[in-house]
């Protein structure tokens, strides 16, 4: 999964979709994850990085990550690799 190229991302956690005009706010961990997604890192790599830095177990984080990625998809902020290739 990747962040769509047209999404503007600020370091302070604001996202802007210039096509729809929609704005979003993301908390600091969400901002880190989005940054890692933009850098092309996989879900496993993101889980490893977050669990190394924060007081969270892998199971909890993977559940929360799946929920977060689901919401990025829901808001059309992200796209799957196959969508990108198509």
């Amino acid at each position: 999964m990747r962040i769509k190229k047209n999404i503007a991302i600020s370091e302070s956690g604001f996202l802007f979709n210039p096509i729809t005009g929609e704005s979003f706010t993301v908390n600091p961990i969400g901002t880190e994850i989005i940054q890692m997604l933009s850098d092309g890192r996989s879900g496993d790599e993101i889980s490893g990085a977050i669990c190394d830095r924060y007081q969270v177990d892998r199971n909890t984080f993977e559940k929360d990550l799946a929920d977060f990625l689901g919401m990025l998809d829901h808001y059309h902020i992200s796209q799957r690799h196959e969508q990108e290739e198509a």
């Binding site: 996202l15 929609e22 704005s23 979003f24 706010t25 993301v26 908390n27 600091p28 961990i29 969400g30 994850i33 190394d52 830095r53 924060y54 007081q55 969270v56 909890t60 984080f61 929360d64 990550l65 929920d67 977060f68 689901g70 919401m71 990025l72 829901h74 808001y75 902020i77």
Partner: protein, 452 residues
């Protein structure tokens, strides 16, 4: 290296073009302690969910109400409404403060007696008083508030049989300018039913008419309705004096005062908009003082307010079971507090706060209970911090009705704890067990065993 505190990732759409007319602020400020006792310690000791009652708030609320009325009217008596919360410990706080008991069934009557209330200080309301109930009330010299003619005739017969003169009042319903008119309790004022009942009582001579009562509604946001009710009861009392040369000793305006809860659909929080004790006292006292009573004939004002005294003192503590998403992407948080424990969630948007610190990030959340029922919704939509499984929440202003209307359904009813004036918790009702439920059941022999 020490790891950072974790908060689950969240993305929230900014909807500046759509102001939320029901928008209340997010409850970021946690309720970590109740009367100095840590919420997490209470839950660790007594289990989750857990009802907690603050004795300090009970007494403060009562004293506020008493001050509001006694500074405006010379004769005031409170009677604790048992149906609002009949935990004996709660009742006894109000009895210690000077409240009589107001009961609406034989069961409640016996509970009040068991708590040590003298029968003469028990007000017996309600439409369902059986003959044995009435006999018990007569023998204890209680104040019996007659709801309908069948009861009046039964009482008259009992008075004859027991060779005594029961002390009675009639319950009066009336148009107080609010909709709907509560006309199911007692005798109607406008159409003459009330005078009909009064004539029957006075002409029979077998019952001693001591008071007039009304119960005009529940969660009454209009204080003017009480002023109208007080005025109409005063007119009846003056009429009885004129016609029969008989003095009605008290006027009882029942209950119905609001707490600070917010009714569903209200634009503003109840804490900002609902009347105070002073507002009610001003309306009622003014109406009674303006009536044509001589200065030595002012009746005692009895108040049976329940909710306004006990609601703020009650908290319901619970634990997050899980987080999930609805089909439309809305956050759903499941907690171990169901509507079976919080009947009032059907009426109010209860204030819910986390019991631990969070950041300023929040989500629009639906709070669901643990029951396997679609209606098990504690809050349809509430902005809450990012709760995780195992986090605790505190539901506020649940002291009224929930500990009497709760249902043993799917789960067992939890313990109830009161925190005393020194900040010490005491259990006042044990958590239910399987034995609580099964103990009442009987299985016929032919259904005692089976093979699968």
């Amino acid at each position: 290296m020490e790891k950072f505190r974790y908060e689950r990732p969240v993305v929230r759409k900014l909807e500046s073009e759509m102001p939320n007319k029901f928008g209340m602020r997010t409850e970021y400020r946690p309720t970590t302690h109740i009367e100095g006792v840590a919420v997490k310690d209470l839950l660790a000791t007594y289990g989750s969910p857990l009802f907690v009652i603050s004795e300090k708030t009970l007494r403060n609320q009562f004293r506020k109400a008493r001050k509001a009325f006694t500074t405006r009217y010379p004769r005031v008596q409170f009677a604790w409404s048992y149906k609002t919360n009949y935990m004996s410990a709660v009742c006894n706080v109000f009895h210690q403060e000077g409240s009589w008991a107001e009961v609406v069934s034989g069961f409640e009557f016996q509970k009040a007696l068991g708590n040590g209330v003298q029968g003469s200080k028990i007000i017996f309301n309600g439409p369902d008083k059986t003959e044995p109930d009435l006999e018990m009330a007569i023998q204890h010299n209680a104040l019996i508030h007659i709801d309908h003619l069948d009861e009046l005739y039964t009482l008259t017969d009992l008075a004859e049989r027991l060779k005594t003169r029961p002390r009675v009042a009639i319950r009066v319903n009336m148009d107080t300018g609010v909709y709907p008119i509560w006309d199911r309790f007692g005798f109607n004022y406008e159409n003459g039913q009330a005078w009909d009942a009064l004539n029957k009582i006075m002409h029979s001579g077998k019952l001693e008419l001591v008071g007039l009562h009304c119960h005009i509604g529940t969660f009454m946001i209009s204080t003017q309705a009480y002023a109208i009710a007080a005025g109409k009861l005063a007119e009846l009392a003056i009429g009885v004096r004129r016609k029969f040369n008989h003095t009605v000793k008290y006027i009882d305006l029942g209950g119905g005062f609001t707490s600070k809860n917010t009714l569903k659909g209200a634009y503003l929080p109840g804490s900002d908009t609902n009347p105070t004790f002073d507002d009610y006292a001003e309306a009622i006292s003014t109406a009674l003082l303006n009536a044509d009573f001589g200065s030595d004939q002012l009746p005692t004002l009895i108040l049976e307010t329940g909710r306004a005294l006990v609601d703020e003192a009650g908290y319901l503590l619970g634990t997050v079971i899980s987080n999930k998403r609805s089909s439309k992407g809305k956050r759903i948080t499941i907690v171990d507090i169901g509507v079976n424990l919080m009947f009032t969630s059907f009426w109010y948007d209860h204030r819910v706060t986390p019991a631990q610190e969070f950041t300023q990030y929040s989500e629009d959340t639906t709070l669901n209970g643990p029951l396997c029922m679609n209606i098990d919704v504690i809050r349809e939509s509430v902005s809450l911090p990012l709760l995780n499984k195992g986090d605790h929440i505190v539901v506020h202003t649940v002291g009224a009705y929930n500990m009497t209307q709760w249902m043993q359904f799917i789960t067992l009813r939890p313990a109830v704890v009161i925190i005393d004036m020194e900040g010490k918790p005491h259990i006042i009702r044990e958590v239910e067990t399987l034995g609580t439920v099964n103990g009442q059941e009987r299985v016929p022999q032919h259904l005692a065993s089976f093979e699968l």
